[in-house]
Symmetry: C2
DNA sequence: CAGTGATACTGAACTTTTTGAATAGGTGCG
DNA sequence: CGCACCTATTCAAAAAGTTCAGTATCACTG
């Protein structure tokens, strides 16, 4: 149900094609509501049928024709009504990696290290991408200036949420690597786990 | 596909009924792989058919008969094989609340405050529950002692991930409340947003 | 001028997840 | 004794999401 509103919220940034949205949903918004291109195209179709967005066909010089979608007044109103409602669904995190970590104590510790390193690298990469988006949004101003002066603050604040999420991810990985290191070379000399 | 492994990982803690798992998936594991009771019962059926878990029927004195499930050797092996593989799916966060925040700049600021306060309260509540689980796991030891000495460290480490997630959530809410407060009483006197 | 890859979109089958309800024994309250 | 609520599970159906496989246009490379 919420994909609908995620799409409407994305269109607050201005008109976009399905293809463009599928890019956006992979970097910024992917943060809190991922969707595949197929989902987006279907959703855009439905929203247009409902009159919440409108499409305009744009033939291009050097590329295939695209359809740009933008919010209608009805769409804006519907989104605002949704945003003002209390939140029904709690946050759902689905993380295959953490299932593996839950079961880590049966796996070769070097294998676990490798998985955690991989995860850390990934989190840092995402963090760097978010930081670049942030620089672009701030455009030279400090956070305080931007938040006082900007017309819209929602996109910046949700970006901050993504940044702190990935930063904590990376920190957690580092903590786990430390723990694994200490278990490999234990200061306690019982030798229990070294069969 | 991963629910299967989430269930196997949950059974590492010992045998459990579908009902008990549905409780666990609502507090600790809900963290990174939520599931409804219906999903769990179906998954348990499938896993038993595959021979990865086995069921034993336990008639009870004052309660309905329950079926307790436990890992088989095949189940343990399958879980270990899964846990050692590189992670295919990146973390997926689905958060209706953050969609609302993305669209906050069209909503009555007092309404937004209320939503953020609600979210903060919820995060702090979850954090408190996690902290209690942590106390129980540590059982008087320090984190360092526990991590060096414990047989299994996976459950503790994933719990830490949950704790830092909710702590950051609460912090983010507090930051947003500050920002909203400053926009309500701006030091910059243009009065632009006070129409 | 064939191959590769980006843009731009569509279709159909499939799996997973959610929702709502039904069943059924037992406990505790007034 | 009736009602609400907890344990424990199952059924059915809808909604949401994933996967795989296309179509088609154009740009760039060798």
């Amino acid at each position: 149900m919420s994909l609908k509103y995620a799409v409407l919220a994305a269109l607050l940034e201005g008109e976009a094609s399905g293809y463009e949205l599928s890019k956006v949903f992979d970097v910024s918004l992917a943060n809190f509501w991922p969707a595949t291109p197929q989902q987006l195209y279907r959703e855009l179709e439905r929203l247009a049928d409902e009159g919440l967005i409108e499409a305009r066909t744009v033939p291009q010089e050097r590329r295939p024709t695209k359809r740009l979608f933008s919010l209608t007044e009805a769409g804006r109103d519907r989104l605002s009504a949704f945003a003002a409602e209390p939140t029904r669904r709690p946050t759902a995190v689905r993380d295959e990696f953490l299932i593996k970590m839950q079961a880590m104590d049966g796996i070769d510790p070097e294998r676990v290290r490798a998985l955690v390193e991989e995860r850390r690298t990934w989190a840092l990469g995402k963090l760097a991408r978010y930081e670049r988006v942030r620089e672009r949004l701030l455009d030279g101003r400090t956070e305080e200036e931007h938040l006082r002066e900007a017309g819209r603050v929602g996109p910046y604040l949700t970006l901050l949420a993504g940044i702190s999420f990935e930063r904590e991810n990376a920190r957690w990985c580092e903590h786990v690597l430390t723990v694994l290191g200490e278990r490999r070379a234990p200061t306690d000399p019982t030798g229990q786990a070294l069969g």
